[in-house]
């Protein structure tokens, strides 16, 4: 490969791979979010409003 092609190839591949791995590892390591309060009335109900 010529130098300019090699530079483009390696830089694009490295940038994309690094960001992919970085964000996926962050997803794997992220702590679970607090669940919503199951005792709160209507916690899982859709919000309803008067149509009128």
């Amino acid at each position: 490969m010529n130098t300019s092609a090699l530079i483009m190839y390696l830089s694009a591949n490295i940038v994309v791979t690094v960001f992919t791995v970085y964000f996926f590892v962050k997803v794997l390591k992220a702590p679970p979010h607090e669940p919503i309060d199951e005792h709160y009335p209507g916690a899982h109900e859709p919000k309803t409003f008067d149509a009128t």
Binding site: M1, N2, S4, A5, L6, M8, Y9, A12, N13, V15, V16, T17, F19, T20, F23, F24, K26, V27, L28, A30, P32, H33, E34, P35, I36, H44, E45, P46, K47, T48, F49, D50, A51
Partner: protein, 513 residues
Amino acid sequence: MSTNTESWGSRVGLVLAMAGNAVGLGNFLRFPVQAIQNGGGSFIIPYLVCFLLMGIPLLFVEWSMGRFGGKFGHHSTPFILDSMTKQQFWKYIGVFGIFTNLAVAAYYCYLESWTLAYIWHSIAGTFAPMNQGQVSDFFANYTDITTTTTGIPYEAIIFWLLCLFLNTWILSRGLSGGVEKVAKIGMPLLILFGIVLAIKAISLQAGKEGAINAGTVGLNYLWTPDFSTIWKPSVWLAAAGQIFFTLSVGMGSIQCYASYLKEKDDVALNAMSAGWMNEFVEVVLGGAIVIPITVGYFGIDGMQKLVNEVGGLGLGFRTLPYLFQQWGPVLAVVSGIFWFGLLFFAGITSSLAMGTPVMGFLQDEFRWKRQSAAWAFGIAVMILGLPTVIYFKQGAFDEYDYWAGTVSLVIFALFEIILFAWVFGMEKGWAEINKGADIKVPIIFKHIIKFVTPLLLGFVFIGSLPDIWDKLTGDYPWQVQFARGLLLAMWIGVAILVSVAYRKRIKEGRFTS
């Protein structure tokens, strides 16, 4: 009250399903062809700039919209959009988010069924005694449904029905029990198959296994930058178009998947992870398979000729099965399974994502059970997809792809970014993006979403207007006109269903905005 009480089983499953939704056949067959036609290695510069200025912002917007609508119990775009504003007409813009999925699934499942058939033929050794012309003709014969390639009559239809059944069955198993499981198996396998094929492609050596060039010659051709093209508007239009279509934005499927998140779940990090994973598959794997192998056997001139004659799709189905045979009988079978298996997983993770908004709509609005909604989707796709199978050679397939898989996406994305940034309001929108975020989203994205992304989308839309005009004024056979009429009827049909659902909501006092 909706019958829809599903949720994601795990965060990794959600990210893989979202990435699978984005990763499609275009990652392997469209991207490398776009790159060689638009400046080679320098294409990556406008491509990545468009990813930052249009792709990532649209991912943030669609994930946030989905989670926002989900807290009101909405899992499809008509009522997700409706919940964001008091203006009545937005629910009809949301019709695109159901129409597009239905129409794209109608032809995409046929494309997906080719990969299943080619896996079968790779195992059966069908391509082993064929020369290049015969392998190319095989594809033409296969898509001519009256011709049999295995002795089974109507073979293409049988594989298509099998594929439809598979999709419907998985969808009927639910989000965590079906879609998520397929993504957790399919995405790692897809990446593994891609890495193996990319290594084999790059390590091709001239004079061995019939190759006339080393694999690096193709790589060199693909990545040699032509900086004189970088300021051409057509190159930027191609880059913006590629980013737009590769991420599956403007379809309504991302909003649907995100609507199953909980109110305080992260969207920012998940969106970034799924988006970059798609880029990895496209740039790192997609750029290292088709072109290096084809140049290895046909040279640069031969590859260019093939690209002009059969395009990226043709390279994948008409050329590669023949080239795999040059690697010996065992590797030919393994490579065939890996290549078409990779395309199959790329296809099915996308087509499953197309089913969920339609099912979500039926479950939310008409209280259908999951299984009934899945089978309704399968039957609708079968009926609507039939013209693309029967009239494939007359252009019905391409017509669906153009209007539903291209124009409709741009229109919907343009409207949704206007809704999010200018009607819903950027302050509220920014708060939605950052709610529960596991990463700090740079403030510059607030301004990009408000000003730059709508402008870029407008640029893509205006750039496609001459093509739309040519399509509308062109002379086409009746089969194409029929396909066009069917698409229009489909859009109107979905809009009528949305109107009925809206009246039903008012009558039942469960209005949500």
